[in-house]
């Protein structure tokens, strides 16, 4: 049966107000079944209130080979962090 199945990535929203978070992957022949499989595999202990399933093939991922050009240039740009402002008095909960 596995030859009819494709891989799906599963995202679960743990509670209202939080974002969907990637929790893992599974096999299913189509989206409807994938959603039900996700319900059984990933939310059987009340882990979520909403599920997304996405065909793994639809995800474009950054390549580990591009790590240097993608991420390293950010390493020395400390000025991109909002730490150069005087916090006005009275603004205690920034």
């Amino acid at each position: 049966m596995t030859e009819h199945s494709q891989l799906w990535e599963v995202f679960v929203r743990p509670r209202r107000g939080l974002s969907h978070t990637h929790v893992g992957s599974l096999h299913a022949p189509d989206a409807e079944v994938a959603l039900r499989n996700a319900r059984d595999v990933y939310t059987r202990r009340q882990e979520g209130v909403s599920i997304w399933v996405v065909p793994a093939a639809a995800i474009t991922a950054s390549s580990p080979d591009e790590k240097d050009s993608f991420f390293d240039p950010a390493a020395d740009k400390v000025y991109r962090h909002p730490t150069f402002y005087e916090v006005p008095e009275g603004a205690g909960h920034l």
Partner: protein, 248 residues
């Protein structure tokens, strides 16, 4: 004693179904289905435990859920024969679950308003679970029925094989009449029309034929069972009978 008998029927349907579904653990076509069928089995077990515990209390003879599950012989079981017949393949398992969950969902929907608070509470919990069982069995019936030539043929064979055993689910007798009259239970005959409609829709979508056979095996509610139940019980009960009172 009608209430006791009625509770045994409700509990035994779920208990025997649990055991059959449990046989798919580690043997389902995919790991995801393995987990799904085990989850469904555990839902059924939860309902069985509540009904059998209550049955033991109603009987007043000091029997608890374990005594009822493990220390009765086949002729004392009150499940419909539908749940005891073996699964020839995954298709049979899905078809049995489709037929049973459609029936149970209608039954529990009606029992939510039972005059007996315990039954109403169990039904309120089980109605959501069986709605999912029905959804799960329906989408797999459609996928396999309207799938490949091989899967279609196997599904039709499974439906033809299991269909005769569905009639028993809707039989009325003194027990169902008594609990229905006192507002505690449901006369199963009243569920038949809605059940046929639900199943008809699913089978049509799955390009499968509703059988026209007229054979109507019966007897489960009075303790007449197929040979399959004896083997099932032997496996289910052996540990408890060999090591009485054993605990995890």
């Amino acid at each position: 004693m009608s209430l006791f008998e009625y509770l045994l029927r409700l509990g035994d349907d779920s208990l025997v179904m649990t055991q059959r579904l449990g046989e798919w653990s580690a043997r389902a076509p995919e790991m995801e289905l393995d987990i799904a069928l085990s989850n469904i089995a555990l839902d059924q077990l939860g309902a069985a435990r509540l009904f059998l515990t209550y049955a033991g209390e109603v009987e007043g003879g000091g029997r608890d859920e374990d005594a009822l599950a493990y220390l009765r012989d086949d002729t004392e079981f009150r499940n419909a024969q539908l749940v005891e017949i073996g699964d020839t393949d995954f298709g049979t398992a899905i078809v049995k679950l489709l037929f049973l969950s459609a029936y149970q969902n209608l039954l529990y929907r009606a029992l939510v308003t039972s005059g007996d608070e315990r039954i109403a509470a169990i039904a309120a919990k089980a109605v959501k679970e069986t709605a999912y069982h029905l959804d799960f069995a329906s989408i797999w019936t459609v996928r396999l029925g309207d799938g490949t030539e091989e899967s279609h043929q196997r599904m039709q064979a499974a439906i033809d094989e299991v269909w005769p055993f569905t009639h028993e689910l809707f039989e009325s007798d003194d027990v169902t009449r008594s609990v229905a009259e006192s507002g505690i239970g449901v006369d199963p005959a009243t569920l038949r029309e809605a059940w046929e409609k639900t199943i008809g829709t699913v089978l049509q979508q799955a390009t499968l034929e509703t059988p026209t056979s007229t054979w109507k095996p019966t007897g489960g509610r009075t303790g007449v069972h197929t040979e399959a139940l004896s083997y099932l019980l032997a496996e289910m009960q052996v540990l408890h009978r060999a090591h009485s009172g054993a605990r995890w």
